[in-house]
Structure formats: structure tokens, C-alpha cells
Point group: C2
Chain length 176, copies 2
């Protein structure tokens, strides 16, 4: 079922992603075109505060022109280990450092055209500290009870894939 | 916290997505650049066969050069209602038609740069029929027990966001 690239055109080389257009051979011998977004990958962190509430950050998302409530996350730097990135992003965005980071699973959020693989970790042994945001990063930090979080998925106030996965993971652990 | 567009450059207009680069104003008065992928949106369907197993399709994903096991899904056509798209895609990809489609929630899989909103539905009152794939679509249809599905998330054999969300949703319903 593999789709071999016959022709490759680089359309854009950006800071966050590159865009390419490939002509590929199909299993039936025909060819087709695949438009592809290449991204270096990211991490996301499921972390709880002293009250047992899920840490979330609220920020403006230009792609859909709305504020979005999400678990802490960030892009992998070149050559950076996902687990180190998870420690760094948690600390930068929330001020908390985690004594322990446990890998949960990885996912692709838009597998039809985008190579971004997101590595999700669960933080534990948390120690509070100071936030340290990137220059162009503006966000509000908060926390949610499970009941609040589930209500916000139902109401459409939480619409971010990794955050929905984190909340469902949490819900499963409370029901088990 | 809104980021107003000051300058907008169209980089690519494709079949599946467009790419733009915006210069935006930040809350502190500075400007920054946002690289954006505009996509028309998609649907995904949580559906079960007569044996109570989750319907999945396996297909090649060029963006990460691997076979991927995912719940049925597809892109919205221009002006198409998400629920109609869900009925159409379920039938095209699996042959099943659903007497009832219940909206679960919507999500953005890559909110940092991509506008693709995915609408997830749960199908019920299922009637089996014949598949009807697009010309360039090659996929294997199958089904998974909850135990198999959970094992495939742990093993990294299922790495698609919508499919992980569907399996977690199913797991929650069995535990409640």
C-alpha cells in the first residue's frame, strides 16, 4: 500500500513547518498528488496542581481566531529529546517542575497531510516555581476540576485534541 | 489577547489546504509572524459492527510514511453539513449506513497553526452494505475489540488523534 514519491516540489520552508507537494504512485499503478505539511513534532504535558486539578493554559489561536484552553505544550527544538522538551515547556508555561515524567502515548493530530507527531507525558512529583514565557507568548495559567473539564468538552469550550485526550485519560483513571 | 492581522501573504492555494503567513500585532504592541494552514474541516465517525467492535480503516499516510489504523473519516466538501458528510464517509469507507448519527464533540488537531476543525459523530442503528471508495483511496476495513484497541494505543500501533479519542470515549462508556 506504500505510496512512493515520483516527483517532489518544495513549496514553502518556514519557521514552524515546511510545505511540499509530492506526486506519488498508487497501488493500482495510477499516480496522485499529496500536499504535505512537515513539522518537527511537539510535546504536551498532563499535570495536576496541589488541589488535584488539571493545569491548563489559555492562549489566542490565530488559526481559528479564538482563545483556546489547552494543556501545556510546545514544539520540539532541533535534536531535543521529547522528555526534556516536556520538562522545559511545563516549567516555562506553568512554573512547575516535575520530579517524574511518564510517557503516555504519541499521536498525529492531522495524519492526512501533516507529519507533526505529539508526544504526551504525565508529570508527577510537582514543585511550584516561576513561569518563564517566550517573548511572543501570552497566556493565562489555570486549573480545572474533572467535572469542569468534562463540561467544557460538552459545551465546546475545549476544542483542542491533546486536551480532550488528557481529560479523557484522567476520566478513565478515576473510573477504573 | 486577540492577534490582529497587519499583513497577510498567501503562500499556497492547494486542493486540501491553503497556506498563509500573517504579521500580527501582539498584546504588548510588538508584532510577530504566524504561519497558518487553512483547511475546510473534516468529520470522523465512531461506529460499531454487529459484534460490538469498533469499525476501523487502515490506510497509508504519506505525511509519516506508515500504515495507520483510524476510525472512518473524511474531508468536508464545500457547503456540506458535517452530519451529512459523516453519513457519506461512513458508507463510502465501510459500507455501513447509520439510522442515527449523534454529535459527540469537535476538535482541532493542530491548533498552533492549522484551522482544520474535526466534527466527531457516533453512529447507531447500523445497516451493512457495500463500500464505495474514491478512485485514489485504498484501505482495509476491520474492527477492534476494546481490549485490542487499548493495547494498540499502548504499543504505539494506533497513533491517530481522533481514533485515540474514540477509543477513550468508548472505554469511558464501558466503565461508567
Amino acid at each position: 500500500m506504500e505510496e512512493k514519491t515520483i516527483e517532489r516540489e518544495v513549496i514553502y520552508q518556514g519557521k514552524v513547518f515546511d510545505v511540499e507537494k509530492h506526486v506519488v504512485s498508487l497501488p493500482n499503478g495510477n499516480t496522485s498528488v499529496r500536499e504535505l505539511v512537515y513539522h518537527n513534532g511537539a510535546v504536551a504535558i498532563v499535570a495536576f496542581n496541589e488541589a488535584g486539578e488539571l493545569l491548563v493554559v489559555e492562549q489566542y489561536r490565530k488559526a481559528f481566531e479564538q482563545m483556546s484552553i489547552e494543556i501545556p505544550a510546545g514544539k520540539l527544538e532541533k535534536g531535543e529529546e521529547p522528555i526534556e522538551c516536556a520538562r522545559r515547556e511545563l516549567e516555562e508555561e506553568t512554573g512547575y517542575s516535575a520530579g517524574k515524567m511518564t510517557h503516555l502515548f504519541d499521536f498525529y493530530g492531522a495524519p492526512g497531510f501533516c507529519s507533526e507527531r505529539v508526544h504526551i507525558y504525565e508529570a508527577s512529583e510537582m514543585v511550584a516555581g516561576d513561569m518563564n514565557l517566550d517573548e511572543d507568548e501570552f497566556l493565562n495559567v489555570g486549573s480545572l476540576s474533572l467535572e469542569q473539564a468534562l463540561g467544557m468538552i460538552s459545551d465546546g469550550k475545549i476544542v483542542d485534541a491533546k486536551t480532550i485526550m488528557a481529560i479523557q485519560h484522567w476520566h478513565i483513571n478515576t473510573l477504573k
